[in-house]
């Protein structure tokens, strides 16, 4: 029991000893008179207020106000009014301020913890009514149940990303469809509505699936989780810590000692919330975090019992992480270990309990602890992302190479990637062009050049000749430009000029326009169905050609099916064009046609190719 937890105090004018018993649940404050005749026990979860005389005052008194026990029946006075129940008050007088302050601080911690717990319970009570699923089950170890489920097995990454695995991973596919609305639309239109086999649909999207699987399965690797937790002591000495489930899970993974402490104590001795509050104020937490533990640190009496057990854990880890010592002379190591610079004494890391400055206050232990943690982190990734399949490193390779005499060996020749300049092809093409231009002889060219140069030799360049153009030419050029502008203006007349100006003003980049939805002459619903139709036609065309060109006779049935799908596409385009084609909607019909004519051509070409092949089959 440390000094901070007990001290001499007078209670009701009787001298005695005051002691905090944290082992009990709930924790107690016990006062016992010196002669042992009298004693008082205060359950600390029932304390409402804690007051102490200020440091400026001569008196040293600690006042504890208890809570009103709701179990006590409310009494009524003679007039029928409720008599307010006075809360129990205890007053202790000290003769030493340090003793009092220590006890006060301890009590503050404990009381704050209980109050915190109460408020979270209160909160949970309210939450349970809304969503019962959210209440953590305190009796169980928090499982990462609501962590996102892995879509692929990252430990076997290579095999998870093979074509067949991706094609059979329905969960992955569904998740991708949910993510991408565009893909979902195509999927619905082609697979669900038009019966394209899902296998076909996905077979052209393997890279997409693979990229998605990889990007969603990226995990946060192990990290120094405790260093990310910053307990903030509030004014009432309460430790404010908010830890997420994920972090708790990581803490348990990285520090089995915490897991053991948790399993031992929750819910037997205290509730989950209390456990974490205790843990974050414990010396164990400081040690694991890699902080120096000061002698006067308070810590937590229960959790800190695991400190000694942790040393045992560390020892076992050290054995596991043992590095083999090299059997040959470590030249590199010797170079680093320069006795001229550092003397003959063993390096400070080799001396137990001493840090670089010769202090023995645990700096070394912190370094060791951090190194241990880092090595464990690296080790824990050993089996992730298919690392198991990597070629095993030859442990003796370095050693073997070191003892070889290699000074006289030749340097490896520098190996460069070869870049080929395609002069020949270009020249061939130029020759081709030359042939096309062969109507122009060198003489003609020479004449032309010399006439240009002699013209320029003769006099200064007279720019005024440009104005001597016949009015007809000028007029016709003008008309031509105006005509083009007028046609283009008609096409964009739907655009509200004001709006147009507004957008160009707000955009700093003139090309920003392109990223926005381009304006269309069509009503949105028709435009949308044009887009959908275009998408699904392209989808079917793609699958049609892949199978059609495959040259695989087993695909015949599938090709036939896809051919029928193309026929459906043709029909759909026709019906859409017919539906918009009416007297008053000439413009819309025109634009629809302009949008869809290319895909219709492509569909028709596909159909034509299939029919030709079938016909050939007939004649053959």
């Amino acid at each position: 029991m440390s000094e901070t937890h007990s001290g001499a105090a007078t209670y009701k004018k009787v001298n005695g000893m005051l002691r905090v018993d944290e082992d009990a649940s709930p924790a107690n404050l016990i006062w016992r008179s010196t002669d042992g005749d009298k004693s008082t026990t205060i359950e600390l979860n029932m304390v409402d207020k804690l007051q102490a005389t200020p440091a400026s005052s001569d008196k040293m008194m600690l006042r504890i106000v208890g809570k009103i026990d709701s179990g006590i029946k409310k009494r009524k006075d003679n007039e029928g009014n409720e008599i307010p129940i006075k809360p129990p008050v205890h007053m202790f007088t000290f003769n030493n301020r340090t003793v009092m302050d220590n006890i006060k601080e301890t009590l503050q911690h404990i009381i704050a913890r209980y109050k915190d717990e109460e408020s979270t319970q209160e909160k949970h009570k309210n939450e349970t009514e809304i969503s019962p699923a959210n209440t953590p089950v305190a009796s169980e170890t928090p499982q990462p149940s609501h962590l996102p489920q892995d879509l692929i097995n990252t430990a076997m990454l290579d095999s998870s990303l093979t074509k067949s695995k991706l094609l059979s991973n329905l969960m992955l596919q569904q998740s991708l469809l949910k993510e991408s609305k565009e893909l979902m639309n195509i999927f619905q239109d082609t697979v669900i509505k038009s019966g394209l086999p899902p296998h076909e649909f996905w077979s052209t999207r393997i890279p997409l699936l693979r990229a998605y699987a990889l990007s969603t399965s990226q995990k946060i690797g192990p990290y120094n989780v405790l260093s990310t937790i910053k307990p903030v002591a509030s004014s009432d000495n309460k430790v404010n810590v908010n830890v997420s489930r994920e972090k708790i899970h990581t803490i348990f993974q990285s520090y089995p000692i915490v897991k053991k402490a948790y399993d031992d104590n929750v819910p037997k001795n205290f509730k989950e919330q209390e456990f974490w509050a205790r843990f974050f104020s414990s010396k164990l937490f400081r040690k694991l975090r890699g902080e120096r533990i000061m002698n006067h640190d308070r810590g937590d009496i229960i959790i800190d019992r695991y400190l000694s057990l942790d040393q045992e854990y560390d020892r076992r880890d050290d054995e596991l992480l043992q590095h083999s010592v090299r059997k040959t002379i470590d030249i590199e190591g010797n170079l680093n270990d320069d006795p001229v610079k550092k003397g003959h004494r063993p390096d400070f890391t080799m001396r137990s309990g001493i840090d670089p400055n010769g202090n023995s206050d645990g700096g070394m232990a912190i370094l060791r602890g951090m190194n241990r943690l880092s090595e464990k982190m690296v080790e824990s990734l050993e089996n992730e992302y298919s690392r198991v399949n990597l070629p095993q490193e030859d442990p003796d390779k370095e050693e073997r190479e070191e003892i070889l005499y290699s000074d006289l060996e030749k340097d490896a020749p520098a190996d460069y990637a070869e870049i080929k300049l395609k002069r020949k092809v270009l020249d061939a093409k130029n020759q081709q062009m030359h042939k096309e231009n062969s109507s122009v002889s060198w003489l003609e060219v020479k004449n032309e050049i010399s006439s240009i140069t002699t013209f320029m030799d003769k006099s200064t360049l007279d720019l005024t000749t440009l104005t001597k153009i016949s009015p007809e030419v000028t007029r016709s050029i003008n008309q031509r430009l105006m005509k083009a502008v007028k046609i283009n203006a008609k096409q964009s007349k739907h655009m509200n000029t004001d709006q147009m100006l507004g957008t160009t003003i707000s955009s700093t980049s003139m090309f920003q326009e392109a990223s926005k939805e381009s304006t269309s002459q069509l009503p949105p619903s028709i435009l949308e169905s044009c887009r959908m139709l275009n998408n699904s036609c392209c989808e079917f065309l793609k699958h049609f050609y892949i199978n059609f060109q495959s040259g695989d006779p087993r695909k015949t049935m599938l090709i036939k099916k896809l051919y029928k799908n193309l026929m459906d596409c043709q029909e759909k385009i026709d019906s859409l064009l017919n539906s918009v084609d009416s007297e008053e909607n000439q413009e819309i019909a025109k634009y629809c046609k302009a949008y869809l004519v290319h895909v219709l051509d492509s569909v028709n070409l596909g159909i034509h190719k299939y029919r030709t092949l079938v016909k050939q089959g007939h004649t053959a």
């Binding site: 395609k422 270009l426 020249d427 130029n430 062009m433 030359h434 096309e436 231009n437 109507s439 122009v440 060198w442 003609e444 060219v445 032309e448 050049i449 240009i452 140069t453 013209f455 320029m456 200064t460 360049l461 007279d462 720019l463 000749t465 440009l466 153009i469 030419v473 000028t474 050029i477 003008n478 430009l481 083009a484 502008v485 283009n488 203006a489 964009s492 000029t497 147009m500 100006l501 507004g502 160009t504 003003i505 707000s506 980049s509 003139m510 090309f511 326009e513 050609y545 060109q549 495959s550 040259g551 695989d552 006779p553 015949t556 090709i559 036939k560 051919y563 029919r611 079938v614 089959g617």
Partner: protein, 337 residues
């Protein structure tokens, strides 16, 4: 409602300011490969329509360009110009030029100094370009079209000037004046470089305008370039009245591109052409490395554009002809008609 009215009001204010104060850089790439021009002249004099223009087309083009550059310089004291020639031997900066100060005074000395500083160099470099070609050997005069190379250089120049003037928020545009030949498919072989130009121009927010003189009306890739960068594409028959086109259709300030209706003609053909045959592709193959489009399986099992070797197994699979097994009741298929 109030909020909306507010922003529009504020925006308009900043807009006018922006247009008035922002200087811009005009870069002109002009196709000077002499063969095409000679051919163009020959064709037109052959058809007899506009043969009697009296002046060489290239001189006419030069004059128009000089006036066009002057007009741009006159617009704003901060405006800058650059002129690059895509010549038969390669590209050459006509202005600004690495060569020394002008020595020949080929421009009237009465001209406004601000113009003359530029024009002297432009005209002299133009003259030298042809003088050098005249002195060169015939064998050296290949038909290499350096248009895409000149465009790339122009864009790197634009990029440099924009970087140098970062704090003045200089705007930029690129005008390409090309001479079309009768075949009209000369730039097919420059598909990839022109595509690269389009990407970098888009990134630099530099619009590309194109004037094509003679040849076919369409110019697929250059049209795509103008479309992707909100530029203007124009096809004109010859250099007569070229200055009028330049000073009207080609004079749209970059900041007005989205507001002004452009005098583009016809529609852009977005279809890709085969790298080898130059034909528009309906069903084709794409190199997975450089995205080059092919209508036929290329010989030699490697990409004709980037030389990436192709997997022989996949090539073999691609070569397979479509088959239908005999078990299929074919009549049914036909009856689907």
């Amino acid at each position: 409602m109030d909020a909306i009215a507010d922003t529009v009001f504020q925006g308009t204010k900043s807009k006018t300011q922006e247009i008035e104060d922002t200087p811009s850089l005009l870069t002109v790439v002009v196709d000077t490969s002499i063969h095409s021009w000679v051919q163009l002249t020959k064709q037109q004099s052959g058809s007899g329509s506009e043969g009697s223009s009296g002046e060489k087309q290239l001189i006419e083009a030069l004059k128009s360009i000089v006036v066009f550059l002057n007009a741009h310089l006159a617009f704003n004291s901060g405006n800058q110009v650059c002129l690059i020639a895509a010549h038969s031997e390669g590209m050459k900066y006509l202005y600004p030029s690495a060569d020394s100060k002008p020595s020949m005074s080929m421009v009237s000395s009465d001209m406004y100094r601000g113009f003359r500083n530029v024009d002297e160099i432009v005209v002299e470099q133009w003259y030298r370009l042809f003088k050098e070609e005249l002195e060169g050997q015939e064998s050296k005069v290949s038909m290499k079209s350096s248009l895409s190379g000149a465009m790339s250089s122009a864009l790197t120049y634009v990029n440099r000037i924009l970087k140098e003037n970062e704090n003045t928020s200089l705007r930029s545009r690129l005008l390409v004046i090309t001479c079309g030949t009768s075949q009209g498919k000369d730039e097919i072989f420059q598909y990839i470089p022109i595509m690269n130009c389009i990407f970098s121009a888009t990134k630099m927010k530099c619009s590309i305008d194109v004037v094509k003189i003679g040849g076919g009306i369409e110019s697929t890739f250059l049209q795509q370039a103008t479309d992707a960068t909100s530029g203007v594409y124009l096809h004109v028959e010859n250099t007569r009245g070229l200055i009028q086109y330049l000073s009207t259709a080609m004079f749209i300030d970059p900041s007005l591109r989205n507001v002004i209706i452009k005098p583009n003609q016809g529609s852009v053909d977005f279809r890709t052409s085969c790298f080898l045959t130059g034909k528009v592709v309906a069903v084709g193959f794409v190199c997975s490395v450089c995205l080059c489009v092919l209508s036929v399986i290329p010989p030699g099992q490697k990409c004709p554009a980037c030389d990436s070797p192709f997997d022989s197994k996949i090539i073999a699979r691609l070569r397979r002809k479509p088959v239908l097994s005999n078990g299929v009741p074919k009549k049914k298929n036909v009856s689907n008609k």
